[in-house]
Amino acid sequence: MNPVIEVKDLHKSYNGVKAVDGVSFEVAEGETFGFLGPNGAGKTTTINILCTLLNSDSGAVFVNGHDCAKEPSKVRSSIGLVFQDVTLDNELTAYENLKFHCYMYNMDYRLAQTRIAQMLSVVGLTERRDEIVRKFSGGMKRRLEIARGLLHRPKVLFLDEPTLGLDPQARAGVWEFINGIKKGIKKDAGSTVFMTTHYMDEAEACDRIAIIDNGRVIACDTPAGLKRSLKGDTVHLKTSDDARAREEIEREFGIKSAMVESGLVLLVDGGDKFIPRLFERLTTSISSVNMKKPSLDEVFIHLTGKEIRDYGGNGRGGH
């Protein structure tokens, strides 16, 4: 399979701060590729470079075989975009927003009409066609934006935090819709989806994930592969004094643990045998212990030493 997106050793700094620090990855055609990382990790910077909205400092970036720096116009016709925040014109109707897009992509009137009708029915907004977008709910706006991003049948659909700021019900709706779209477009166009997120459950739905932190890709694999990479079990621990318990565990067992909001997280081989020994040797009193197979949350904690929600802002990690 040919890569639709190729990024090699990408660098970008703002005022001396490295936002993207040597990122490389490839996305194959038809793949749903997720960029997972906390806010400020460099996800949006990378996506902006891929979308030709930003110039890189160095590195090679190809989308659909076109160099983002040299042929931005060709890259732009190959991609569809749904931004983190709403980029609809609130004063226009749903139809007018879509028509604007069609004409910007040089479609003629008849093609525009067909595609608009088609996409409106896909996103279930046919009845709202002539309503001013200002009156739409957040979920409806998102759906309309996704519909707009697909109007010109892009090779790659970029979704930058597609469900940010939506309530759970609206998020579920958007996801159901993205999955439906993917099945639909994969059949006839082979579209690729590139998305950024800091929600574990959304990352879980991708074919492959790159975990990005401090401007670097620290892991890139399928969700299952990432989880397999953590051999053993994860143990979640709550004690009367987490900092002290952490020191003790490191001294007694030689195991480093990550301190997160809910307590300590340890990665151990054979957790069932480890827990009794922990009770035996730890002098700090333990209030709860929980053992499970690693999830993406734990993969992230293990790789970065941090919980994604530590800097995620709205306290919603994966469940």
Binding site: S73, T87, D89, E91, L92, E96, Y103, M104, Y105
Partner: protein, 254 residues
């Protein structure tokens, strides 16, 4: 390939937005009339005019200029607005040259200004200023020229601005002096030298002066102060400079 469809749809959008904002429509219609009636009659008592022109007639060309000035600047504000609220990105990721976006914004802004300026000419007969077909044609040409100059200038400034507040601050230091140094309310030839220098770089000054050529012929010391050909030449050069500069800046900025 020039993306005429993109230009068309950008103009269409700006027109739709303009006619849907009821508040903006009301302000647009009321402001010049308030100036004419209140300032016109207030100062009319105070100012000794001559040449068979009363003060209200004298300020009509200036108020047409003011209407175009405010309308054009307001239009370019929408670019800053679009940047702040994200819509500009929808345009910037489209596969159209940036020049098409600039062309669409300048065209829509100038046409809206021209429309508002032309609407104001309806009051001319009530002020005893007669407008025939040739005057109307001349006014439309001149108003379009002024509209393009100021819209292109505003767009140039707007393309450096990332927030609406910043734009408003800058514009208040430009727009109001531009208006007061335009000869709209008093002839600029009487101004002290430092201010007079500023009028020579003010496109609105030449614009208002060109309107006076058409609307106030033979009004003595209250008629136009520069030759019409100078007015038109200045405006054309000014417009060309800023159309190209804003296209250039748009192309370069990321």
């Amino acid at each position: 390939m020039f993306s005429y469809k993109a230009v068309y749809v950008i103009v269409l959008r700006e027109f739709k937005r303009f006619f849907r904002q009821k508040g903006r429509l009301v302000v647009t219609a009321a402001r010049p009339l308030l100036w004419l009636l209140i300032v016109g009659s207030g100062f009319g008592r105070l100012v000794q005019t001559g040449g068979g022109v009363n003060y209200m007639q004298f300020i009509l060309p200036g108020i047409v200029g003011m209407t175009i000035l405010f309308s054009s600047i307001f239009s370019t504000m929408s670019v800053v607005w679009d940047r702040e609220f994200g819509f500009l990105r929808e345009m910037l990721v489209a596969p159209v040259p940036r020049v098409a976006i600039v062309a669409g914004e300048i065209l829509s802004g100038s046409m809206l200004s021209l429309f508002q300026g032309a609407m104001l000419l309806i009051v001319a007969p009530f002020l005893d200023i007669s407008i025939g077909y040739s005057e109307l044609a001349a006014m439309i040409f001149l108003m379009l020229l002024v509209s393009i100059s100021i819209t292109a200038f505003g767009l140039f400034v707007a393309s450096f601005m990332t927030s609406l507040e910043g734009f408003n601050v800058i514009m208040n230091f430009i727009v109001l002096p531009m208006f007061f140094l335009s000869g709209a309310l008093y002839p600029v030839s009487g101004l002290p030298l430092p201010l007079k220098v500023l009028t020579f770089i003010n496109p609105l000054c030449f614009g208002v002066d060109s309107f006076k050529h058409v609307l106030l012929p033979g009004a003595g010391r209250l008629s136009a102060e520069f030759p019409l050909v100078v007015d038109v030449a200045f405006l054309a050069v000014f417009a060309a400079i800023f159309v190209f500069s804003s296209a250039y800046v748009f192309e370069r900025r990321k």
